[in-house]
């Protein structure tokens, strides 16, 4: 019996082209559905239902602050007032609060602030106000607290 050993070696060749095509399809799919999102952070506020009565523990030597935010008809900020002082912009308010707190740890820990905003004011202005009074970003990137006891005034009626 003659056993043929020569020649007919079948080489199994893998077809690369379709595989590359499918791989590129997958890649394009994932690139298209990839979403770049910014980091999100939170402002904590505690809003207990029970109103703060005269028996609540608050430092009476510290002036309670009221931040009034008035809006124009379109919801943009029209007026920023902290107690009796008016400010043109939120950075001005921020600088004032930084100066007000200074290095007084008692003020830093115990000052209470109430935000009173117009109903139609755009929410981003409230967040900007919170950023201006809540803390300060230092040069090294860390955040120094300014006023931490922040609450909202009761909501107004819808106009």
């Amino acid at each position: 019996m003659k056993v043929r050993n020569t020649g007919n070696e079948e080489k199994i060749e893998l077809q690369m082209t379709p595989m590359i095509d499918i791989v590129f399809q997958l890649l394009v799919f994932f690139i298209m559905t990839f979403k770049i999102v910014s980091q999100e952070g939170d402002f904590d506020i505690k809003m207990p239902l029970a109103a703060q009565g005269p028996g609540s523990i608050s430092d009476e030597t510290l002036l309670p602050l009221t931040l009034e935010l008035q809006a124009d008809a379109t919801g943009k900020i029209a007026r920023i007032q902290l107690n009796e002082r008016s400010f043109g912009t939120f950075p001005e308010l921020h600088d004032y609060v930084v100066g007000y707190i200074g290095t007084d740890e008692n003020r830093r820990e115990n000052t209470e602030l109430e935000i009173r905003a117009d109903y139609q004011l755009r929410y981003e202005n409230v967040i900007e106000a919170l950023s201006a009074v809540r803390g300060r970003r230092k040069d090294d990137g860390t955040i120094e607290d300014l006023i931490t006891k922040i609450k909202f005034a009761p909501p107004q009626e819808e106009p």
Binding site: K35, Q39, D44, L69, Q120, L121, Y123, E124
Partner: protein, 152 residues
Amino acid sequence: MRVKKSNSGVLEGDLTPMIDMTFQLIAFFMVLINFEQSEQHEKIQLPDSELAKPAAEKTEYPIILHLTQREEGQPETVILGGEEINIEALGPFLGREKQMYLGQGAKESEITVVIRAHKGARTGKVQNLIAKCQESSLENFKLRAKEDVGNF
């Protein structure tokens, strides 16, 4: 002079490294892609804040409420778990979420409401939302903002 003409002008490159890199890229994007919708919603554009830094600790019992902005005469609506609800009708839904956490052993004081409100929503509506949550005895709130990366 014998000029040897090569058979084909086709460049044959080795494709193996290219395919390897492509697989690497696919694996990269597969890991990064997040199909989870509960924490984010494309309708909501959060306001920017310099102080918005992701919290060091994860909120243990969060109830995430998205608040849209007004559109075409329709007031702001709340999106909770994929459902779009009016603020006034939110009570039972909040109760349901609360019961779920209480059933897991949480205390009422440990439940936090995370409010992801659109930057163009009216402040009054956010306050109404907070008041509605207070009616369900929820007291802890987190107002969510996007990190402000500043101007380039």
